[in-house]
Symmetry: D2
Subunit: 341 residues, 4 copies
């Protein structure tokens, strides 16, 4: 359910489906072999092709769920999954497929992100694009300013550097054959974000971006601009000099700030990176305990992604889009009085 | 102002002052030479030494402010500061000292964090401790499980590895003499956090932690547990095996999860790391523009920290404490029915 | 969708259906002749008959909707409906049945209220019961302390005073025959509410109750305890004297406070009254304008309730239940430290 | 503290003081004889006479507090006060003057309301005015459309009907001499509110208004437009016919809706009424219990208002202003796309 979407946006299921299709299982041999069409229905909030300004409800039904496939996991805590923590928190857990902790819930994020994309694109000409920058130790050097959606979608890894992409695909295949899994880094750029989005203290733009992407399953870290690389630089080298811009507004001649200064966008590209751990579900036997605190050996079963990175790309975009849309709307309720000059 | 603090906690100004003193300027030659006693007054919410359950208001007055020292910055945008973005957002800006974007506002976070610390310690026996792990390229290898507050406070850098700490201090001094500045990494551990804090989707514990620390000025990145290092591991090596624990509850034999699985604490130590950029204020001339979009050379003036890391330690602790206190309180309103067995 | 419901509550569709059946159209000849079974499905949040602690999603589909019946209203603003204001706000409107402003949305409130009722009853032994106190100028004098659900449900008007109920039914029938409509007053009592729910300033219990019931369509007023009647009393007559109670806790010998003092419950019955205007949809021709600002005569068509009061009873209960459940949960996160004595 | 105020409003202490002076104690012989100048300081959020867009902090210090005057109330629960409920909720209570439940906290509401008034007046030409409509059984018949601030302020009762005002003043004086107190009704109109403010379901404008005014101490009821009077009307008589307006937008030829239809403003005057109970503090001996559950006789002492209505007028205005300002700002973030035509 999406609240707060302005009225009179031309919203269609096709537009949402386009992003869902980039996330759905079974789209290439690199991802899980579970097959979900992930067809979206709009239940409310749209009338004759336009948003109404009221709550938009999207429904995507599971088509290829197989609850029985989880029977052997009923009493066992899978390592580095949320089985134990869910039980610890709630004292009850739906063991038939991951429950609320299943990455399946990201379908809702991508659907909502598509609506945010439509708003930002229509109203503010903002573009958000993510790609796979690194899988295991195979890294691509990508220029965030030059990259296009076609380049990202050209390869099932969603790494726009074609030579590196092929090496990544081979590594994923090897991990699958080995019953193992890989992690990596997704990078994301937002272009055209106007200066002035964000808040000076409590809802800094980079803080909201960090929260948004760290709420994606399997994430372990977040960087903006220079990120952890900033820690070994000096201030003289790290500061972004201002230079006169063409629109009467300053630009920076470098972008180590990553498009945000003091919690507020400065009009440059916003660039972030997100660390994903290797998938916790692996096709290997693992040591764990059951819910009676007894040690057990967990046999590998079922279908999974040996590497979630390619499918994580539209999810990262969605989270960034949602944060930017929220802050863009907030700014409409902030900058309400005429400016001098 | 702190809302939501439970009633009947024994709160004193001394307890708050203890944390404020670790953050205040002028506490060692490594930090800014501006001198602020940062004396706290409690204006509301405490009666006869106990919290009332209503809003707690803390007041810390500026004692050593010098608005005139900023006169030359009135029309100039300092590089990698929030001067331009504040103006872009609001169309007005208080140029006398950084305004709302001044790191001075972190005094409120540390004060509030002290209250959260008292709550967590009294009610749940949770301990939170941070330290400087890295300055520039000088890194300390610290065991989060073994570290103590005394070790952290033994050296003005707040790096508990004494040999490394001395090298850090020298590097900071050298940067100061050179009119330059340094960045680094603060690491933080939370011990004794009960399993079950956090939420499965929208307010994951790691997501809230990321937002909290990324709202500290000068931060550029966040990691939990294995962090960015996870990206080059395989699932077989990265997963944390469960083993039977002594309290009828499983433990993990490694902690690459960093104490959180699927957004919810698992009872192990929560371990995070925060990247700080080098201080934007440096004692060197820099190229920038003024508010008429003209290039100008900004002369260096005023007092500043050549490295904020030592003073950032209690700020990181405060942000972590506030997140944990909020989630601990939320859990009191979740786990309200008797558990079977 | 219901967030924040604690885990391990025994929730069934039957339990929810019971309240929905009291609200549904077509349950007696006094209400609209539109027939909706209003069958509820639980889509999420419940597993093997117990709540999971995650979002509970209820789905009730329209069965007897007839969008074409609204074709003649496409360009016309019905008097005292939300047609014009919806258009004024959003610049677009779904004219096929009232859209977001349709009283049909109260089905969600009643469903959510049934969950709140289960929680309050299980965990705190709180009972909430409403009834029709007045229709047009026919008023029943009812003792909130003595009333039972059976008495309320004994008559289709939901007025527990049987003689008055019959007069009300006749007045409703007469209004229907006349193409007219009637308003009235619903009264509601909450018994067993523990002392201490509510907040001293910003979310006073009576303020949240007022907001909750004023968000029900067709409401025009709210009273608690003595209500508007208090305005003509003196303080000496209005104050509720405290007397020693049997549980070591004071009681009041009168209840003009209506169970709330200073925004917080005092343990006495909470008693409120809600004013409903006569239904805006009437079977008579009315003067109005179209969306081109031209005067038009609106012909009467379609199915409607000549008096919403009988069906409003479970809606008022639901809104009161939701407010009390929220405050009861908040109090669990407030009163977390041991009390002296 | 006021968050969310837009930047670049010309805000002065004088402007705030003007409203505070209408609320302050001791302004006439009709109110409490306690004397508080209630001088306001602006601590943050304003720079060189303009709002900065960041949090505005107002400080008003108690000048004439006398904590010792409450010594005899330390262990006693005053009837119809919040002494007992505060203790029941928090297990602790500041007995020196009412604590958080003191009506003294309304000084903050009036201060914040003055800022909301400035915003609404500058940006939307909205005017909000309240007056005393009734004290005890003495009622004035006032035309909300015609009333002016000067008429309201002409008499210390703030009843604009001069003959009735004098009778009210005499009744208040008589109550004071008798050690008793009186209640009444405040009426409030908001003029110039554009059509389209409010929300269709969860934050209906009348619901937010009801919550806002019911959070004022001593309130027992709320009405909008026809209010409880609607309950005895028929739909045919109650509906407000639309007629063509001069601005291409419909008007209504009557205003029983009170300016709100379906939760959203329709451009007509918003008219509400608020019921106040007689002041709970009276100069008469009363029966009550102490905190050991023993019956005691409470002797009358101290200074109080025999009737709070005259001072409640600016408080009601403030609450209405804050609700309207919030909804006006929300609408700026809703109506963001160009309208057809």
């Amino acid at each position: 359910m999406v609240d707060g979407c302005p009225p009179r946006l031309p919203l269609t299921t096709e537009l949402i489906q386009r992003d869902l299709d980039r996330r759905r299982p079974g789209q290439s041999k690199l991802t899980t072999q579970r097959n979900e069409a992930d067809r979206v229905e709009i239940l409310s909030g749209v009338f004759e092709g336009q948003t109404l300004g009221s709550t938009i409800t999207l429904l995507v039904r599971n088509a290829d769920a197989s609850p029985n496939a989880y029977e052997h996991l009923k009493d066992v805590y899978r390592p580095s999954h949320a089985d134990f923590t869910t039980y610890a928190k709630f004292g009850i857990r739906n063991w038939q497929g991951g429950g609320r902790a299943s990455a399946r819930e990201t379908v809702g994020r991508v659907g909502a992100g598509a609506i945010a994309r439509l708003l930002l694109c229509s109203a503010a000409n903002v573009q958000v694009l993510a790609w796979v920058r690194q899988i295991a130790d195979i890294a691509a050097d990508v220029d965030p300013e030059a990259i296009t959606l076609d380049q990202v979608e050209a390869h099932p890894t969603r790494c726009p550097a074609s030579d590196v992409a092929e090496a990544m695909a081979k590594a994923i295949e090897a991990a699958r054959r080995d019953g193992n899994s890989l992690g990596g880094i997704v990078e994301c750029v937002a272009k055209g974000v106007p200066a002035g989005l964000g808040e000076p203290v409590f809802d800094k733009l980079e803080a909201d971006l960090a929260k948004a992407v760290l709420s994606i399953p399997a994430t372990k870290g977040f960087e903006i601009g220079s990120g952890f690389g900033a820690t070994t630089m000096t201030g003289r080298d790290h500061n972004d000099p201002f230079v006169p811009g063409t629109m009467g507004q300053p630009r920076t001649s470098s972008n180590r700030s990553g498009g945000v200064q003091g919690g507020i966008s400065n009009g440059e590209d916003i660039v972030i990176r997100v660390a994903f751990k290797p998938t916790a579900t692996i096709a290997s036997t693992q040591d764990t305990v059951d819910n009676q605190n007894n040690p057990v050996a967990l046999e590998a079963k079922g279908r999974h992604d040996p590497c979630v990175l390619p499918r994580a790309v539209p999810i990262v975009e969605a989270q960034v889009l949602l944060v930017l849309a929220d802050h863009w709307l907030r700014q409409q309720a902030t900058d309400v009085l005429p400016r001098n000059g």
